[in-house]
């Protein structure tokens, strides 16, 4: 009787202490999925998805409130990666892939106000006051922030032109 009581009490104590220790030591801060999803998103905080920045978008994705196709700058690779991560089917019906886009500064209209330069989340615009600005195509995510702030409509989005390094054969026509 005493032995049974003692052993069960000891067992309960040991397990309770172990659980208590684990709760402190292995504490999880927030939902780890949100952080992982946020790391996958472009991080330019452009807001094109309708959420306040990439953190908000990741939260919505984790809650299942947003479709995996929410991020235009991420493009198709991101959609596929997110669908694989969340184990959902990427629904691409009704999605038009406009192809890769980049910002362009129309040199005739640019007044060198540096507004786009200040707002660009990836430092893709080169410029100084009263100098015509230019875009580094390699760094531009086509988030469109520069188009919104330009007072003279000198910035716009254009399709990324093909070069010898990026051109490849178009999809053959399918005959049914």
């Amino acid at each position: 009787m005493i032995a049974a009581l003692l052993s069960l009490t000891l067992l309960g104590l040991a397990l309770g202490l172990g659980l208590g220790y684990a709760a402190i030591r292995l504490k999880v801060e927030g939902n780890p999925l949100v952080d992982e999803l946020e790391a996958m998103l472009p991080g330019s905080q452009c807001g094109q998805c309708g959420y306040p920045g990439c953190k908000g978008a990741a939260q919505a994705l984790a809650d299942g409130a947003a479709p995996v196709t929410l991020c235009p700058p991420g493009g198709r690779p991101l959609v596929e990666a997110l669908a694989a991560k969340l184990g959902v089917e990427a629904d691409l019906t009704g999605m038009a892939d406009s192809g890769p886009q980049v910002a362009e500064v129309l040199e005739d209209l640019c007044i060198g106000c540096t507004k786009c330069y200040k707002v660009c989340p990836t430092d893709a615009i080169l410029g100084a006051a009263k100098q015509i600005h230019a875009v580094f195509r390699e760094a531009c995510t086509a988030c469109g922030k520069c188009v919104d702030v330009c007072p003279t409509e000198a910035t716009r989005m254009v399709a990324l032109p093909a070069t010898l390094q990026t051109w490849y054969w178009a999809r053959p026509e399918v005959v049914i």
């Binding site: 198709r76 690779p77 430092d123 531009c140 990026t166 490849y168 054969w169």
Partner: protein
């Protein structure tokens, strides 16, 4: 010598008799040459000349940059009249950076420096001279030859295979070169062997070129007396015998592992034309500025082979062969199986251009594709042992990554599958599209990672600026408070002193 069996392959009509008979002619000097800065796989060359500068034949125009690149030399003497974009010999027809040279008709060589005895040079020196001469693989891929030499020296290549396959229909440039310049080719082969340390040297030539075989055997027996055994071997004529992996397999029985290189199994393969270019560079000091080009096809008046300077317009070459006698339904640069379709003849020929074909409608026999009937003709034809129908089905369904599991990366784009398909499905077009699509996705992924890093750095910087501003404001406030306190203290002291004085005075 025992030959090994090859899997798959097709037997297209050769049509080599059109251009095989007449000897190689030298093309008269054109008025202008358009020399692209990128004529090879790798980074484009960086130009060293300015507009208006006079150049001599063989002078260095552009230096290679990066690990895989090749320099470009002036094909003749003249004046540089433009540096800028010009439509290139590329299926897209996109412009590429090009040097335009107005020829002066004098054709004066620059000072050439050839070693007294090229065999006395160390292998590394031979490779360095091959690199300086701008030599690239002349079989079509245009991979810088010196890079291959260095790679094979580092990976201990035991067998050197010289590719005289020329399995593409219509093309006879290697055939004519071997018939007319066999001794130079054999010397070039021995130089390449010297540069790599290969013990066994095999030359594979298709048995539909008996004159070339005879010429090469004669030249190699003469060379064997001088040391260095070069074995010339007749291989069965079939397509794609001239492909590197197939030539290795038929001669040695070895198979290049998937995703590997020939050097991984101790073999180095070069084209016979490359061997000729190496001999010219090491014996005469001449850089690679010209090549033999087959001009053929039903629409060409007088087909034949021409020695053409790099940068000559395809139109000039066709004109030298009597022009077009019929309407060309298709213009092709290279062979009909793997060549590039051209939209116009106003593009320059480059180091890798082996042929210019003007095909009539009858030769092209274009037909619209039908559905796949799963007859598996493509499976039997594929020389790499792949299942083209399965690969194409996955790509068509928007799953190019799935086709990689079926061996898309091992596809050599030889076009045998498209050739045999009874439904005329452009299978190789699908595969080329999928390879490009996958590369584009990879590029986008890398770009997204890079821009994410930029965005993170920027937000960090913005946070730091705010932090520093607050810090500065706090410091300013503290300094102001200290100054105010000091002022107050001085004022109080002064007041106290005044008070004391007043008391003294009153007392």
């Amino acid at each position: 010598m025992k030959l090994f069996k090859l899997r798959g392959g097709v037997h297209p009509e050769g049509r080599k008799d059109l251009s095989a008979e007449p000897p190689i002619r030298v093309l008269p000097l054109p008025q202008r040459l358009y020399v692209p800065l990128q004529q090879h796989i790798g980074a484009p060359a960086r130009h060293l000349v300015t507009v208006g500068e006079k150049v001599k034949k063989g002078q260095l125009l552009a230096a290679g940059q990066g690990a895989v690149s090749a320099p470009v030399h002036a094909p003749t003497s003249g004046r540089v009249v433009a540096i800028g974009d010009f439509p290139g010999p590329h299926p897209s027809g996109l412009p590429m950076p090009t040097l335009t040279i107005e020829t002066d008709g004098e054709d004066v060589w620059d000072d050439l420096q050839a070693p007294a005895d090229p065999f006395a040079l160390t292998p590394a020196e031979v490779a360095a001279r091959v690199a300086a001469a701008g030599i690239v693989g002349l079989g079509g891929a245009a991979f810088p030859a010196a890079v291959k030499l260095n790679l094979s020296r580092n990976s201990e290549v035991h067998t050197l295979i010289m590719n005289g396959g020329e399995c593409e229909p219509y093309l006879t440039c290697d055939d004519r070169l071997m018939q007319e310049r066999a001794p130079q080719i054999v010397e070039g082969i021995r130089l390449i062997a010297h540069a790599t340390g290969a013990r066994e040297i095999l030359v594979g030539i298709e048995d539909n070129k008996p004159e070339a075989l005879a010429a090469m055997i004669t030249a190699s027996t003469t060379a064997a007396a001088a040391g260095g055994a070069v074995k010339v071997i007749a291989v069965p004529a079939m397509y794609p015998m001239g492909s590197e992996k197939q030539m290795i397999q038929v001669l040695t029985g070895l198979e290049v592992p998937a995703g590997g290189r020939a050097a991984d199994i101790g073999v180095l393969v070069h084209n016979v034309g490359t061997a000729y270019a190496v001999q010219q560079a090491l014996r005469l000091g001449r850089p690679l500025i010209s090549r033999i080009v087959t001009v053929s096809g039903g629409a060409i008046t007088a087909p034949g082979n021409l020695e053409v300077l790099v940068g000559t317009l395809a139109a000039d070459v066709v004109r030298a062969c009597g022009g077009l006698r019929a309407e060309a339904a298709r213009l092709v640069l290279g062979g009909p199986m793997m060549g590039t379709q051209l939209s116009s003849l106003e593009v320059p020929l480059v180091k890798g251009s082996g042929g210019v074909l003007a095909l009539t409608g009858k030769e092209v026999e274009a037909s619209s594709p039908g559905p796949c009937i799963r007859c598996s003709s493509c499976v039997r034809a594929c020389p790499m042992g792949l299942l083209p129908l399965e690969m194409a089905a996955r790509i068509r369904a928007g799953d190019p990554a799935g086709s990689v599991d079926w061996g898309l990366k091992d596809c050599i784009a030889c076009g045998s599958c498209s050739y045999v398909c009874p439904s005329h499905i452009p299978l190789v077009h699908w595969f080329n599209h999928a390879k490009g699509d996958l590369a584009a996705r990879e590029r986008l992924k890398m770009k997204n990672e890079a821009t994410k890093k930029l965005a993170d750095e920027r937000s960090e910087r913005m946070a730091r600026i705010v932090r520093e501003r607050e810090e500065a404001a706090r410091l300013r406030a503290a300094r102001k408070a200290a100054a105010d306190a000091a002022k107050k203290a001085t004022a109080e002291a002064a007041a106290a002193a005044a008070k004391q004085k007043l008391e003294e005075v009153t007392a």
